[in-house]
Symmetry: C2
Amino acid sequence: MTVTTTDPRTGETSDTGIAETTSEGVAALAAASESAFRTLRRRPRAWRSGLLRALADGLEADRELLVTTALAETGLAEPRLSGELSRSIFQLRLFADAVDDGGYLEAIVDHAGQTPIGPGPDVRRMLVPIGPVAVFGASNFPFAFSVAGGDTASALAAGNTLIVKAHGSHPLTSARSFAALQRAARAHGAPDGTLGIVFGQRAGAALVADPRVRAVGFTGSLATGRILLDIIDGREAPIPFFGELSSLNPLIVTPGAAGARGAEIADGLFLSFTGSGGQLCTKPGIAFVPASADALVDAIVARAQEADAQTLLNDRIHGAFDEIRRRLIEEGRARSLAAPRAGGPGYASTPAVLEIDAASLTPAATEEAFGPLLLIVRYDSLADVVGALSAVPDSLTATIHGEPDEAEQIAELTEAVRDLVGRVVYNGYPTGVRVSWGMHHGGPWPATNTQHTSVGVTAVRRFLRPLAWQDAPEFVLPPELRDGEVDVPRRVDGVLHLARS
Amino acid sequence: MTVTTTDPRTGETSDTGIAETTSEGVAALAAASESAFRTLRRRPRAWRSGLLRALADGLEADRELLVTTALAETGLAEPRLSGELSRSIFQLRLFADAVDDGGYLEAIVDHAGQTPIGPGPDVRRMLVPIGPVAVFGASNFPFAFSVAGGDTASALAAGNTLIVKAHGSHPLTSARSFAALQRAARAHGAPDGTLGIVFGQRAGAALVADPRVRAVGFTGSLATGRILLDIIDGREAPIPFFGELSSLNPLIVTPGAAGARGAEIADGLFLSFTGSGGQLCTKPGIAFVPASADALVDAIVARAQEADAQTLLNDRIHGAFDEIRRRLIEEGRARSLAAPRAGGPGYASTPAVLEIDAASLTPAATEEAFGPLLLIVRYDSLADVVGALSAVPDSLTATIHGEPDEAEQIAELTEAVRDLVGRVVYNGYPTGVRVSWGMHHGGPWPATNTQHTSVGVTAVRRFLRPLAWQDAPEFVLPPELRDGEVDVPRRVDGVLHLARS
């Protein structure tokens, strides 16, 4: 069976000529991946940072082809796609810097010696790669969370091999991204099996079940995440699953902020919940606005009513967006302030705005809806907000808009949201996640299922595990754990030392 | 219903007078724990390191009572119990040092600025406590892996509250350890609800299911671990489960080592697999010995036959030890070299030694057996060892005994075991785990189910999660993330800085 691709601007489907990967194909890729892993993990860090930079250059060389391909498969705008590819390229280079830095290894040396409870052996510990990693691309980021995305950069930076499951919404973009990476990896001398790709849902399931796969990185829906977790539970040896699953991203506007910057916030919030067709995991899907701030709400509604239609990624997202909106209205959970208008032959729609009172907010009204949908919650007091937050699922982010003279309120809101999310944003918007050393993109269930991030340098930690050597002869130790000066920061006998400069 | 305690030296059971915790009792403790958490996490690090040191002093003050109580409940020897209590006390003080050091926070500051892909906001990230933690004590370490153990030290060092599930094999030791900790915590000013304890299996299950509990630390059997994981899967919001579950800990003696140090290795290995009645998760349960090294094997067998009986912890362990041994022999999987002799009225036994050829080793012969049982695998070549290792479940440790002129063999064996374990020991024994900064006590499934350790300072990471603040006003930031010099190491704009000295 071959894989089809659909242009969401028209809804027209065509054959890609790419075959769905058979179960035998998956097994062969996993075997090659395991074999390459044993070769790859002996390579020094400098080789690996070079690989990441070569992959970045390889993507850059194919920029035009990749962006053009993604345009036809996603309906996203050209500047967004080009910017996203730049982000993927930057990410690979940043992770290369992190590999050179070596701090991510968490190297520790405890020399043998007397301790308060007796003599202790020599113990040296650092993080080592975990093995072949399966990476599931997401529909909404054909570059940054797909074949060339953050999970790929993380798994390779850690020293692993990887096999990507191509997302069915952009198979050609996946295949061409993979070709660019594969060509660059081979030219850099990576062993065959370093990179693999599979197509088709059954191949994805087989990949997660394969005993040679040692970890899974996934960005997608809670429902698919649950299916993959069930497959992992059925394995003889369960493996770590890093899922970024669902997020509503509450945004709170204080009375002071609504008064001082209502129009500006209306603009910013509108751009944030409609950007990329509202198909971002950090989209603010719910906004708490003072009952008195009609002007702010009216401005958002006006912009929604005037907006051009945006093409959504696929039939499923387009359908769910509409269905969730209708259900909320029909069940009387929310009032419609701006109804979406369809536009064009494909999966296009204008934004939708709903409204509810804080006292009426229930968990049934807080389902994540991909697409340009915003639920505005009107409140009388910040105590109402704090109470209503219990109806909002834990999320990747929370955002607080407040004024300098509202320090007490901002502190109170921070206390109220900090246990519910992984990132708190002040006077800004949660979309447009910065790829940096300190970014955290994760949160309590159902935002993610682990205590790790999938964006930023610390995402590498997901695909590493600690290994300790006790009283080891020097020749079996990695260079980073030998005595003398080393090129990584490490803790020696309890004291942190910087890398040799 | 009240809890009973059994003296394993006699098998006699008596009533402790302690009531099993009801489901209402568990819920009340969880509510108090959640409430205390909100208070506790505002306390500065210096307060928390003081708490850990106060707990250590509290245990020291009750040393005699605690050791005497544990003697009667575990049958373990007095020096072992006193040493274990010292280890728990040392552990709390070491973790206090780690809290003062602050490196465990992984603080990162990315200032706002221009990046290769556009302007980036100010992002600051560090690890924060996760919430109320449930800790399950293990039978085999009434102090170091129980109420006063490593999970307790880790959860509190991270800034969490905790509720311990007392192990049914030592309820009085648990209650008295808890009393010592509780008294010290109150004197230090910890809020009510900081520490809790529950008794009874149903209470343990209710604890894991309680929505206010945010993580579970568990050391125990694979079977019980699976039951608790099932409870977590049934929660509305699953939580991290850190299980240390099962380990066989292969030990390999090269031909050179057998020739040069056969008698010494026989002594060391005997002490390692019989120490504490062979009831250590790091017990070397399987040893690969050259087919030619009869003298080494004979020496172990002779020691086993001459040994006095040791009391095992409880009826279940005593029964399983005997059953696994019998099954291996009856099913023809291994030959008996030394049969155990019962001793005394309680759960006592002398050591058992079994033998098998490397070519005959199958997964059916490698079930973990708590108790003084050693399976010796005779091999002709190191290639046989490497092949036979595939029948050994992944473990916490592997041990290699080799001579200086066998560098090539030692390197080859290291490559063969490093993917299978979390710690590789050279010319020593895996038991007697050093509590230090770099110790790693974990391994691939079924040794543990995560990429984390339960011994050593990095065990604290299990009960922390990252939180990021974006463009935050200074007054909501923790002191460790504010501009200026701070008392923790942190990475600022990509560059690691040591703490202000």
